[in-house]
Symmetry: C2
Subunit: 478 residues, 2 copies
């Protein structure tokens, strides 16, 4: 493991000692002799961890920690506070300032390296995600993810010793939804199904090796980023070191101080939520790339990517494939007479009706402007014509409500084309549907027209599925 460490201590001898120990492990070390200097270095040295002496003149360690943890550009960097005494009130003060870990002087080498490796390892897990989300925000993207609107965080307590489990649950259930699971196997299952924000594990499970459970949780995609807090005893040092190597996020030593428990759990929960937010940002950005923002349908780019593979599948499976091009009649007039908001509303409503006529296999997308495409796998021209005609009627039948609260009737014209077998292409299909659409428009709008090429090729008869309503279907040329 490699990484960049900032050591902050006003006593130069302490700095040199830590530099030597960490340098021997090949970590990159820089040092600062004051809090102010530390903050200066952090401003442009992307580091992986800060080792921070508490007792310093000027800004003390608590204050430097607080500033790091409240700066959005730095908050993800783990901070280890180095305290002269291992006092509970110092720990609580440090935790409130956002510290991730504590080491007391004189610093034990093994504990130091284990904690540094653990914290850098945890940071690495989300570095890539953070990098992607940053790129997204450079592009001006940000999610609508609202942490305030979330359900209360849920915790899983894995403990097969009833007394201990009850005490933990009692201490936490005021602020969290707490589930207690005595069986490690069941806990693993439930953790990978449920969406826990933090998992607390009794290191001294009676029926299972708690470290194995940690390892299993870290190996599953669905739980690898869920914070794990261990409850250990004072003489569990060796196993805690092991647990750090396996990637636990924090641990508490019995007897558990309730304030400390509350703060440590809160820190892990808010970290988990921050990671969820990053993931949601990136996910949403990806979804945005293929979604038309006005209609919520897939966009033209998505259609074009998929059309080729749908054609391939149709060719391979010998199945039909059809598409329709739907165009809102006199759309320009709607915009001109009622304004763009009205036009946008009509597009949204047509999209909604289109979507309600989409089977699970179908792909409805906004092709651009007032045009929509519906791609219909396993559907021949005849069946597609039936679907198109029904859609035409659904749009004609029910008036559209305008922002002014007035209602207006809107109609669409639809061109339908079917896949003509190998040699045919998505572009050619779209072109034929466009030609059919043009005929539907030319023959008076509010009607559907079928690709003339299909019957020329002698493939399928272009007969509407509802002959009683053939008036809506433009006569095919020749």
């Amino acid at each position: 493991m490699s990484g960049r460490i900032l050591v902050v201590d006003d006593v130069k001898a302490n700095v040199r000692l830590l530099e030597a120990r960490l340098g021997a492990e090949y970590f990159e070390v820089r040092s600062a002799v004051s809090g102010a200097q530390a903050l200066e270095i952090l401003a442009d040295w992307p580091c992986d961890i800060v080792l921070l002496d508490v007792m310093m003149p000027g800004l003390d360690g608590f204050e430097v920690c607080r500033r790091i943890k409240t700066d959005p550009r730095l908050a993800h960097i783990p901070v280890v506070l180095i305290t002269a005494l291992d006092r509970s009130e110092d720990r609580i003060r440090g935790l409130r300032a956002g510290a991730d870990e504590f080491l007391s002087k004189p610093v034990n080498d093994v504990a130091l390296v284990a904690r540094v490796r653990n914290l850098i390892g945890l940071k690495r897990l989300t570095d890539e995600l953070r990098l992607r989300a940053q790129t997204g925000s450079q592009f001006g993207l940000s999610s609508d993810f609202d942490p305030a609107g979330e359900a209360p965080a849920s915790l899983l307590v894995v403990d097969d010793r009833p007394g201990s489990a009850e005490r933990l649950a009692a201490a936490l259930s005021r602020d969290y939804d707490v589930a207690v699971e005595p069986s490690a196997a069941q806990a693993l299952l439930s953790a990978s199904n449920g969406a826990y924000d933090t998992i607390l594990i009794n290191l001294r499970l009676a029926g299972y090796d708690a470290l194995r459970l940690v390892s299993q949780l870290r190996s599953l995609d669905r739980t690898r980023l869920v914070p794990i807090v261990l409850i250990a005893d004072a003489d569990d040092t060796a196993r805690v070191t092991r647990a750090l190597d396996l990637g636990v996020n924090d641990h508490l030593v019995r007897p558990v101080d309730k304030t400390e428990l509350a703060i440590r759990v809160r820190t892990q929960v808010s970290r988990k939520r921050a990671i969820d937010r990053l993931a949601a940002d990136v996910e949403q950005t990806l979804a945005m790339a293929v979604t038309d923002p006005l209609s919520g349908l897939r966009n033209r780019r998505y259609l074009e990517t998929h059309l080729a593979s749908e054609l391939q599948q149709a060719a391979d499976a010998g199945l039909p494939l059809a598409l329709m091009l739907v165009d809102i009649d006199h759309f320009k007039r709607i915009n001109d007479l009622h304004g763009h908001d009205a036009g946008d509303g009509v597009i949204r409503d047509v999209a909604r009706r289109l979507r309600s006529h989409t089977r699970s296999l179908d792909l409805a997308c906004r092709f651009g402007g007032e045009e929509f495409v519906m791609l219909m796998p396993e559907t021949d021209l005849e069946r597609a014509a039936g679907i198109a005609e029904r859609l035409r009627k659904v749009i004609e039948a029910e008036p559209f409500r305008l922002p002014s609260a007035d209602e207006m009737l809107v109609t669409v014209s639809i061109g339908v084309a079917a896949y003509q077998g190998r040699g045919d292409s998505g572009t050619a299909m779209l072109k034929r549907a466009d030609q059919a659409l043009y005929r539907a428009k030319a023959e008076g709008r509010n009607r559907i027209a079928l690709d003339a090429g299909a019957s020329q090729a002698g493939e399928r008869a272009a007969i509407p599925s509802s002959p009683g309503n053939a008036s809506g279907i433009a006569a095919r040329r020749r």
Copy 2:
């Protein structure tokens, strides 16, 4: 470190031995007694590493490795071949099959754990990236990144012993661009600037600790994913183990077999390129989310995100801000008369002319359909009117070429609005620009109109910058 390991060996005793050793380190272990069973397990157990015995009846280790490495769903999983003998020809055969590492029987515990940790650690670095890229491809996105069109890979050889450096460079320069750098400090600088595909380091640098260089390369964002191959001596075992912990990707032992060198470097280079591709995919997807595919301009979503922050900046700095809404005149007619391809071509060409009139501060975007918005920071209404009028003329002056090779004249109408200080909003600005645009249309098109509200508010006179051409500017109401 935790992770999932698949152990494949037809001798059950060997399987049990590896299971016990790795289980004691808390790795999740599953086992298979044949190559066929291994491939079955891999099909739905996402594992982090495969330990593969070479000598098995049925599919041997080489063949199983080859199948893993040629399956796009599995190729990223590292494979360690376990061979009875450490023979060069077996290694070369294994490398050709895509193996990442070799261990010879009897397997040394320290070597086993060091290699497993190293390979899982390297895999973790790109897991998140792979996950994101997968999400992108679920959305039907894929980049146009073309590996065949790339420049030859470039290598950096860090070696301050002239003879050894020359031998390495000579062996590799037929297939790669090879740079030799004797100074470690210079190598670090050059690696973080240049885009090397793989870095080879002599573990026995005379003037610098090679492991420190490895650590430094792994700590820099720009080099943390660049493959590092060490050239070591047979008695460097302890330092090689250390290097594995620091994240080197591979190592070769002197005397260096040229075939082995060639294959190992090729493997690292192609891995690097695969990672570059993943990163490019994700990056491109993010860019796609804010780009209008037809015009190449930023899309409406991007404008809306940025408008708020531009307004804020204008307010904070007390600077003007203007925008124009550009609409192609009679666009529907272009589509109807000349087809959608012609319409698309006109949109692209208007975008091109718009872009050529965009200063570096400005933001040009396609607002939807045949409408464009140009956002102009530090620009008042008067100056914006001048820019709008010039743009109008540029579009009017030069005919547009249609797909039919015919040319046609196209004109635009433009509405211009300026920020009116605190209390104003992006939506309100767009609305005022839209009202101005409506007037420009109503008064005959091919003209610009200024937001009437601006002079009502007594803020700025709406005088065109080129009064000689005032004919193109719609008179303001009242």
